[in-house]
Symmetry: C2
Amino acid sequence: MKKEKGEYIYPFPRPAVTTDCVIFGYDGKVLKILLVERGIPPFKGMWALPGGYLQMDEDAIDGAKRELYEETGLKDAYIEQFRTFAAVDRDPRGRVITIAHLALVKISEVQGGDDAARAQWFSLDDVPQLAFDHDMILREAMKNLRQKIHFEPVGFELLPEVFTMPQLQNLYESILEVHFDRRNFAAKMLHLGILEPTGDRPAGASNRVPVTYRFDKEKYDLLKSKGFRLEF
Amino acid sequence: MKKEKGEYIYPFPRPAVTTDCVIFGYDGKVLKILLVERGIPPFKGMWALPGGYLQMDEDAIDGAKRELYEETGLKDAYIEQFRTFAAVDRDPRGRVITIAHLALVKISEVQGGDDAARAQWFSLDDVPQLAFDHDMILREAMKNLRQKIHFEPVGFELLPEVFTMPQLQNLYESILEVHFDRRNFAAKMLHLGILEPTGDRPAGASNRVPVTYRFDKEKYDLLKSKGFRLEF
DNA sequence: ACAAAAGTGTTAGGCCTACACCCATGA
DNA sequence: TCATGGGTGTAGGCCTAACACTTTTGT
């Protein structure tokens, strides 16, 4: 149902409202985010966070899920709002407020959606300067992710169903930007009781093959309901 | 500069944007929040969180500070955004998105601002049903405050400059809804090194008079820059 | 003297940290 | 056989949690 330009009239000025998504993925080595290249001004040709206008019949989280789907084809990934950015001059076109979301996806499941031509994964330490205030939004998203990882096993959203302890450790190290002792890390994780050994071990690296685990969501939910904290 | 009704025209529909404030205070016994009675429909006569429309020339945090000032006369209190509520039907008047903020004030410094006629403090376990989705906003604010207290000494924002250990403990117990052992609590707090004994002890309770402390912001900032965590 | 609340120290257990050697695999 | 990375256990220190009696003050 197309509307004519200028059909929406209000007694007081209103800001435009968008949702943006910081989409994190993990390729087994480094933490990455998905960016899109802007095809139109302002900031034409620069990279930016995926995002778009909030529709009048959708909640913010649904707008963000829609953006996520358009860029990745994913419908069930982890996503949550983390902060709203409302600086007066953050968009040169006028007053635009953005409700920023953080999504965690399994990179292997992403199959570029409709819009994906211009989308690309960037390693976190290789991110170009972004359009608008998206650099700040990204920094805040990272901060948020680091906090969250102490209370929730969000890492499992980024890993494939079946993963190894070194992968898990590497992921935690990428997010927190620290290094852990292998023995201590494994002991702590196993002690939580939310990892289930799969039994198989995949063939084929050029060295000793690690055992694999699966995330036990039931045990996690039980643990979470009693309240817990991951210390690092 | 008064505008005529209907002067603001946009090519696409836009939601209205408001800021709301969950203002916490502590009277030495229980945790309280400041509510205002609605004078106009919808929900006329019900209690609600202080809030109002975001102006086009102010950042969200400034809008929230303005609201806080109007209700409490305070300009420098602790305030931060914690979440945006954007459910499609949260306001019967139409699409209204609210950027919710959390403020911590020293109740003794509050002197009802311009609007304060209809404002009133409520104990947290005595809050009436609120207008709009403000019950949910309040619940989320509490959740946020509980999380935050593990990483930042936010409690000091709620206490007077000079306070006693039992007051501090009682505040923590009110926020976290748990009970601590006096000895362990005091030891942990003092061990952090961010409390400075004042030396005086105020006269006059009907029992032993507690010693008083002051919060040492410098030492706290130092500690924080190294990263720390309060365990409870 | 009594009631009410504040102050104070020790012990046991759990968690975190640091640390080094052997094993499996493919080249 | 060598190079690469994976797997594993123990000891010391620190923090947490549990616990009871004495002190101050006003009535």
